[in-house]
């Protein structure tokens, strides 16, 4: 009698979707309130080869960033300098192993450049280019926001002249509540999300991306929450730079 030989089976995959994102006490799964950040850690100047570098942890989201330059370009002549950003997520960054290159990386590189370019005094290095490389070591949500802040810190550490530091913050809608600094679970099951980059001293939004279903009426609330978050992060960035400067 013929019996099929089964060598292996796929493990049963359970959905990690929690039944409730916001508890009855108004706290999120990890115990945070709606407008509370995860524990933040920032440092600058750990990549010795780079002109400037920075490292940011938003609990489990870990981003390292280094800035090089200004260096010569082979592009056409321009009176202004250029900023070149490269955003990468490591293959081991999330629970599911990533493929080598993804369009998301290219897309996020552009978002990052848009967010940071406005803050850089490009007139100071005509026809040269400054490179910023961001690598996401672990992605537990809000990786783009972390990379933008990390890039801004790296540029400041490299002594590139900036108009202002760029703080960044993500917000997402879960269970009809808007929460900031989402974790990967919240990001996975959230409805609409925005990422906002903001210069706190000049009070200018440098970059705003929106994904998913964000209603026009809630957009203002989204942006206001993000800008408040960006302000908090900018203060933390300033404090970090001052402490590192005295070392």
């Amino acid at each position: 009698m013929y019996a099929p030989q089964i060598k292996s089976v796929r493990p049963l995959q359970q959905s990690d979707k929690p039944s409730k994102f916001i508890g009855d006490d108004g706290k999120r799964i990890d115990g945070r309130s709606l407008d509370e950040f995860r524990s933040v850690f920032m440092r600058t100047g750990m990549v010795k080869q780079a002109k400037g570098s920075a490292y940011i942890e938003l609990n489990n989201t870990k981003v390292i960033c280094s800035a090089y330059g200004p260096r010569q370009t082979n592009n056409e002549f321009s009176d202004k300098g250029m900023l070149n950003c490269d955003f990468k997520i490591a293959s081991f960054a999330s629970k599911q192993r990533r493929k080598k290159t993804r369009d998301e990386d290219k897309e996020f590189s552009i978002y990052m450049r848009d967010a940071l370019e406005i803050s850089v005094n490009l007139d100071k290095f005509p026809k040269s280019v400054v490179d910023v490389y961001a690598l996401v070591l672990e992605d537990d949500g809000s990786a783009l926001a972390a990379a933008i802040m990390c890039g801004s810190l790296a540029l400041a550490d490299a002594g590139i002249e900036l108009y202002d530091l760029v703080g960044a913050c993500s917000a997402i809608k879960v269970d009809s509540h808007i929460v900031i600094d989402p974790s990967s679970t919240e990001q996975k099951y959230g409805v609409g999300a925005i990422t906002c980059a903001h210069m706190s001293n000049l009070n200018e939004i440098t970059q705003l991306t929106e994904a998913g279903d964000v209603e026009y009426s809630t957009m203002v609330e989204f942006v206001n929450m993000c800008v408040d978050g960006c302000r908090k992060m900018s203060d933390k960035m300033r404090q970090t730079l001052a402490t590192e400067h005295l070392k």
């Binding site: 002109k51 400037g52 330059g69 200004p70 260096r71 010569q72 370009t73 082979n74 592009n75 056409e76 002549f77 009176d79 803050s119 005094n121 100071k124 290095f125 005509p126 026809k127 040269s128 400041a156 550490d157 490299a158 002594g159 590139i160 002249e161 900036l162 108009y163 202002d164 530091l165 210069m199 706190s200 001293n201 000049l202 960035m237 300033r238 404090q239 730079l241 001052a242 402490t243 400067h245 005295l246």
Partner: protein
């Protein structure tokens, strides 16, 4: 010195009514703000009430600018120009080199139509020059049309360091052979 003495990019440090914006700062809407991380320093200006306000940072961005004195190594010579690698700007070493070009008409101030590039520079020479223009997409345009500008270091055919003898000749200490250069008057 405490953390509160350190300013970061975007911090307001003064007003244009009371100060003059210096290095590491920028002005926007009449306010002077820091553009780098560092300590605020004010300097007196002779015959003026306003003080220059600057931010002293640990790292600086140095790129060649119009009027800056640079040190460059000659890479290649043609009949029209000498191609150089700029390695030093205003006494500060660059991390990466920038390409520069000394055109025939910019080698010296007089008799510029009789300049022979190969009798002014040779590949390997270190030249002190001034940036006269940002040039084209590739190179900065440099000039050595001043007494103190020209070759400051060169090696002879025999491999010895050349010793300057006049403004257009250098001598090899070993073979006493004279080679033609646009010599910089260093003293």
């Amino acid at each position: 010195m405490s953390e509160s003495d350190v300013v970061t990019p975007g911090t307001r440090i003064g007003s244009v009514d009371t100060h003059i914006s210096g290095r590491g700062t920028y002005t926007r809407d009449g306010r002077i703000c820091a553009s780098v991380v560092g300590r605020v320093v004010t300097k007196d200006v002779p015959n003026q009430d306003k003080k220059i306000i600057e931010v002293e940072s640990k790292q600086e961005t140095t790129v060649p600018q119009i009027g800056s004195i640079v040190l460059a190594t000659v890479v290649k010579t043609t009949t029209q120009f000498a191609k150089v690698d700029i390695t030093c700007v205003e006494g500060k070493a660059l991390e990466t080199t920038f390409m520069g070009m000394i055109r025939q008409q910019d080698v010296r101030a007089t008799e510029i139509d009789k300049v022979v590039i190969y009798e002014s520079f040779r590949p390997g020479d270190v030249v002190r020059a001034v940036v006269i223009s940002l040039g084209d997409s590739k190179s900065y345009y440099l000039s050595t049309a001043r007494n103190e500008l020209g070759v400051v270091f060169g090696t002879s055919m025999a491999g010895q360091t050349l010793v300057p003898v006049s403004w257009k000749e250098m001598e090899c200490p070993k073979t006493h052979l004279r080679e033609l250069r646009k010599v910089a008057k260093t003293i």
